[in-house]
Symmetry: none
DNA sequence: AATGAATGAGGTTTCATTCAT
DNA sequence: TATGAATGAAACCTCATTCAT
């Protein structure tokens, strides 16, 4: 009979330890966002958390470790929300528009974090891999959708579906990056949503629906 | 008899100075590509150029200065990657294809440096500005071209030309980045050129020419 | 029952920190005296104190800071070299003699440091200011005493008290400098004390007391 | 028969060499006065003279050499003028006042240079010696005068003439230094002349002349 | 666990002096 | 001689990490 064995943890962490760890993670996020990972200093993180130098090392081995903790806390925030309309909605233009709107809104909410991830990917292999996996999943899914549309005669059959998927993902994500991170212009989202969606549909030559109201 | 009057320039730089500066720029590029900007050491640059420590400081005030010199060389090539066909070539598809091919080839040649610039832009305001200026120039030029096509009825008139220009630039540059930097896959360029160009033309609804051979 | 309430101070500095700081100040003084400020090296100070490089920077921001600490110790001694007899001793000649003796003895003890301060004052604004403040305080105090004596008819009433005070201070301090720093002659102090005091009293025309034994 | 032999100089200096040397000396003086000898840089001297680095080394072996050249040019400026009244004027008060006035006026004219010499004396043995010799000559001469007055009953016979001479010289020179260099106050000289002279005469107990107009 | 002082490797920068042109 | 680039010794300072309290 299998028995539920309580895995003996060394000891319940002290209350102040828990508090300090939380303070350090919060401070680390702020410092990373402000200075970038590369230029951040452990000194600043400890100071921001209001604890001593050495305390940092009670919780993390080094800066990378702290970063991992920051990202752990942010997993949820990073997921794109947005309903999957692809299956229920027969009008591709509407699906595309809704997806783009959801993506841009999520990006705007997490702009600083996205900037951080972008930076990390250029600096640390580990995060480059992480980004690549997310991106690959996205691109692969879209490539499948494109092939489906090509088969049903609703998309330009001369396009290489994989490359096209990558290109269109790039278009949307890089535009979002430029607007929200590089420019920091808190512009009206809707024209951007409309333009990106129209370009996307045009690019694949997806036939325009009669009823334009469905786009919304 | 006309007389050649020498305009008194500040004085021609000495031959060895020119040589050393060139050697330093070359070495700097190599070191930056290998170690990244942050982890690079001036010592290594000087050693790579085969000159003394202080010689570096005869030519540059600091590492940022040296990087600027390296990037100056890059700028030229990436801003004007190919011949300007726009004026002589009546077929937009051919222009787009040629431009994309030239851009991708230039990107491939400078992939590691482009990655570096990308990284720096996320870390240092100064380089973010530099990238933004380059990008803005590109986007503005394309937006003008799009408006011209819209007026002559050769492009989708419902598109916002500025946003569309940004989006399409993003598509090309980010795709190049993914392929050459993130993936590092030295794939066959031609399918990518063709797909990007077709997506671009489609996206703007530029009418396809009768004679397809012109695309090449 | 009264309760001893501990006032929460910023936290007592650690014992080793106090010890190291003291060692650094002592070493700094030795190095400054031996090499002068300009030619001194932080490395040597740290080595002399038997601590690591960086430890210096835990206590001082830079060399100037360390010097300030060294001079703080000096200030105390040079400003209040002896007991204040002015209030208890009715005979001005005795007061003057005692003050001069105390000053010269203090100067002799700190001759090399005084030389250093002299040097720095000619080179660095900051130390010129420091010396000026010390000197001004001294001169102002003496000017007050001179006016008091003038009012009570015990000093030459035709003298400008401020200028006279400056002149007499200059006489004493510069004589000390010449003897202990420029000449480095470790002469018998007493004749100098007597002569300076007599000149001082004469200069102000302070009436000589009947009982000469009081001068000692 | 003695023959005048022309000592064969290597070659007459070129005209531009002479000019450059002069420019360098002038620039060196300016830099020394502005930055002090210790903090001055050869770079700045060459730049100030409008010549190249290396040109400095065509004329001087190092900074000390340049300083010697600066001082050579200034020998005349350094001499104290002032008529020697001691022999012709029977009234010591008048002699003292005239000497002090001449000294202070000369000091004021050469204040920056005096500051420079002061600084150099604290830094370089060579200049300390130079200053000491000048000072010693002065002090010795005054001591002789004091002894003469003591013998003729016109000065306090209890004073040590050598020490008194040093002290009084110190009083005057240091007061001048404070006023013209440390304070930089371009005050009215006359009260200072009067006060110093009165203190001086008082200090030695030189009997006041009946006719006060002779002081001027 | 928390503290913060101590450590020390390692980079940047300055500038007097040399030297090829 | 003049030029100014090249040299390289030498010093400063930072900051991740360790460790005694």
């Amino acid at each position: 009979v299998p028995v539920d064995v309580e895995i003996p943890r060394a000891r319940a962490p002290r209350a102040d330890a828990v508090r300090n760890r939380a303070k350090l993670v919060r401070a680390a996020r702020e410092v990373f966002e402000a200075d970038g990972f590369v230029n951040s200093r452990i000194t600043d993180i400890a100071a921001g958390a209001g604890v001593a130098h050495g305390c940092f090392y009670s919780h993390f081995r080094n800066k990378e470790d702290a970063l991992a903790a920051v990202l752990d806390e942010l997993q949820e925030e990073m997921l794109h929300p947005g309903p999957n309309l692809a299956l229920t909605e027969p009008n591709p233009w509407a699906v595309i528009t809704a997806a783009n709107r959801a993506y841009l809104e999520a990006y705007r909410r997490n702009a600083r974090l996205m900037a951080l991830l972008e930076q990390l990917a250029t600096v640390d292999e580990r995060f480059a891999d992480m980004r690549k996996q997310r991106s690959d999943a996205f691109v692969t899914r879209n490539a499948r959708a494109i092939r489906r549309l090509q088969r049903s005669g609703q998309a330009d059959q001369e396009l290489d579906a994989d490359i096209a998927s990558l290109a269109i993902s790039s278009m949307v994500s890089r535009t979002a990056y430029t607007i929200f991170v590089a420019d920091r212009e808190p512009a009206d989202l809707e024209p951007i949503v409309q333009t990106l969606s129209r370009l996307w549909a045009n690019a694949l030559r997806i036939p325009e629906p009669k009823d334009r109201s469905a786009d919304q």
